[in-house]
Amino acid sequence: MNNKDSGSSFLKKISEYKGWLYLLPAIIFLGIFMVYPLIDVFVYSFEEGYNFASQSFFGTGMYNYSYVLHDPYFLQAVKNTFIIVIITVPLSTVIALFISVLLSRIEKLRSLFQTIYFLPYVTNTLAVGLVFMILFKKTAYTDGMINLLINAFGGSSVDFIDGPYWAKMTVMCIYTIWIVMPFKILILTSALSSVNPDYYSAARVDGTRPWRIFYRITLPMISPMIFYLVITGFIGAFKAYSDEVALFGVDLNSAGMNTIVGYVYDMLYGDSGGYPSFASAAAILLFIIVLTITVINLMISDSDN
């Protein structure tokens, strides 16, 4: 009796482990290339003066964090990143929603317009940056398209690429919004078209005004998609780097337009680079910021549902 029991529980155990066996290849690869580096970064961030070549460090402690948090370049990067996040995420979502609603209203040529609005998504960031340079950059020969427009309305030229901070930040935000828009429009148009038209008919029979239909019916129906876009938008904007390079080149610190990811990169490979410990500490700080914001986002969306 006892034997039989232990036999069947043994079989049971095997079938329990079977699942893990199937998962093993994925676990090994993810472990080596994702989990281990993450842990490693965490470890580096506490090791002072870690050196790649000699694999040595002076000591452990909070010094790396203290250094990074007192580095004016890092503080500037945090400030830039937050400004970009706070301005571009809500603005791009609202504008994308507006365009999607208009797109879903038109019947003729809808697919043509959808293609046009999606084109920026498949265009290379640097190519877009080049176009923005042509539009905004002030050179010895021309003030650029936008300045010509400003002049036409009686304003004076502004150097958007090498000029004052607010001008650079303005271009940066316009650029970021422009570049993240296509994906949001794509998601929102499909979300809008998945709303059953009967809801709109029902609302019309009940004499609901268009604006009320929008905020009482359309918005709640597509709110899961909006939350998805806001959360991924926050994460994406906090991790911005290549967009800044496209506009202002690799020396972002001297342009005053560095971001947190840019700071991490500079600490690793930049001209003043070679400080993996500081880079790790900055990366962990970024991780904490993104985690906090995402958790807050999720809590808000949960309490709404």
Partner: protein, 382 residues
């Protein structure tokens, strides 16, 4: 409120490039729906019944014709100004709102002088919910309700503004068979209690027959017949109506009228006053009277006898006998039949013991209909 449709026509432009002819979803409808009645719009799918409903509620604009509610021409009024309530086939309850919020939604749209206080809105919602017996579910979300309960919420939402006309699009099609029976009685009860003119769309003839005061039979956008259910069943104006109403379906035969006698194949089955010609013959399943069973094994043959008026029973090959408890259906075949099988229903109060190879039937004349071969219109006795 009486609803008058005057030469109502709705044309949709063709989307098919190979066939550019316009689609007449509703073609020259001209009839009056009396006040305070329950009306069933009946027809196969694609016959324009939902279009008719949408025209009446104002979601669609007619191409031609007028719609009047009583004396008022509402043809050009938007839905909300017509005083209609509409229940959608899929109920269209707002999933993010509770039952109470769903029912109150139409009231919250009121503006200006019509604007109601929260208390009044709440009271009205409660009243509508009580009418459809869902007042204990007010704070649930639609997805927490069963199909039948969702249906009731949808009806309550349509009724909360006290519409003059209540419209139901396929109200029972999303429910299971048992709930369907219950709900159709419920709809009848609500209609009787409120006295609101109610129009519902269905493709299920049984549903329409069972609760409607009047049924309107449609086909391809054209009105076929309008009348009380029993009237339409007993006196169909054409072959389509005869075939569409009734389960089991009417049995169709190729027949011939010659010298005041109706022949099915070579058998003279019934005297008639119709003029001589080839005809379609429709016989209701309950229109057969068992005249005899030829059972060679027992040797009681010879049931086929000529009656005094010269008619003979119709002899059919027996295929099967189905006993349902309430009645017995005899499935048989005959060369003159247009369908594969002839289905006849006998009451089961007599202990029928049918076995053999052929059965013969006499016909009940008022259950036999003659239709023109060309137009498929009814040929009436003269």
């Amino acid at each position: 409120m009486e609803v008058v449709l005057e030469h109502l026509t709705k044309v949709f432009p063709s989307r098919d490039k190979k066939n550019p002819a316009d689609v007449y979803a509703v073609n020259d409808f001209d009839f009056t729906i009396p006040d305070g009645k329950l009306i069933g719009l009946l027809g196969p799918s694609g016959c324009g019944k939902s279009t008719t409903l949408n025209l009446i509620c104002g979601l669609l604009q007619p191409t031609q014709g007028r719609i009047l509610f009583g004396e008022n021409d509402v043809t050009n009024l938007p839905p909300e100004a017509r005083g209609v309530g509409l229940v959608f086939q899929n109920y269209a309850l707002y999933p993010h709102l509770t039952v109470r919020q769903n029912i109150m939604f139409p009231l919250q749209n009121l503006r200006g002088e019509e604007k109601l206080t929260k208390e009044v809105m709440n009271a009205k919602a409660e009243e509508a919910a009580k009418l459809v017996q869902i007042d204990m579910l007010m704070d649930r979300k639609p997805k927490e309700l069963s199909g039948g309960q969702q249906q009731r919420v949808a009806i309550a939402r349509a009724l909360v503004k006290r519409p003059q006309v209540l419209l139901l699009d396929e109200p029972l099609s999303n429910l299971d068979a048992r709930l369907r029976l219950q709900t159709r009685e419920e709809i009848k009860r609500i209609q009787t209690e409120t006295g609101i003119t109610t129009i519902f769309v269905t493709h299920d003839q049984e549903e329409a027959m069972s609760i409607s005061d009047l049924i309107v039979v449609m086909k391809d956008g054209i009105l076929q017949q309008i009348g009380r259910p029993q009237e339409v069943y007993d006196e169909p104006v054409n072959m389509f109506v005869a075939k569409f109403l009734g389960t089991p379906q009417i049995n169709m035969f190729d027949g011939r009228v010659s010298g005041g006698m109706l022949y099915l194949g070579e058998t003279p089955v019934m005297k008639t006053t119709a003029p001589d010609k080839e005809v379609h013959v429709g016989i209701r399943p309950e229109g057969f009277v068992l005249a005899g069973v030829d059972a060679p094994s027992t040797g009681t043959a010879g049931a086929v006898a000529t009656a005094d008026d010269g008619t003979k029973p119709l002899e059919c090959a027996l295929k099967a006998v189905e006993v349902s408890g309430r009645d017995v259906s005899i499935v048989s075949t005959n060369p003159a039949s247009q369908g594969v099988n002839i289905r006849s229903i006998m009451g089961s109060d007599r202990n029928l013991n049918i076995a053999g190879e052929t059965v013969s039937f006499r016909l009940k004349p008022h259950k036999v209909y003659l239709f023109d071969k060309e137009t498929e219109d009814r040929i009436y006795e003269q």
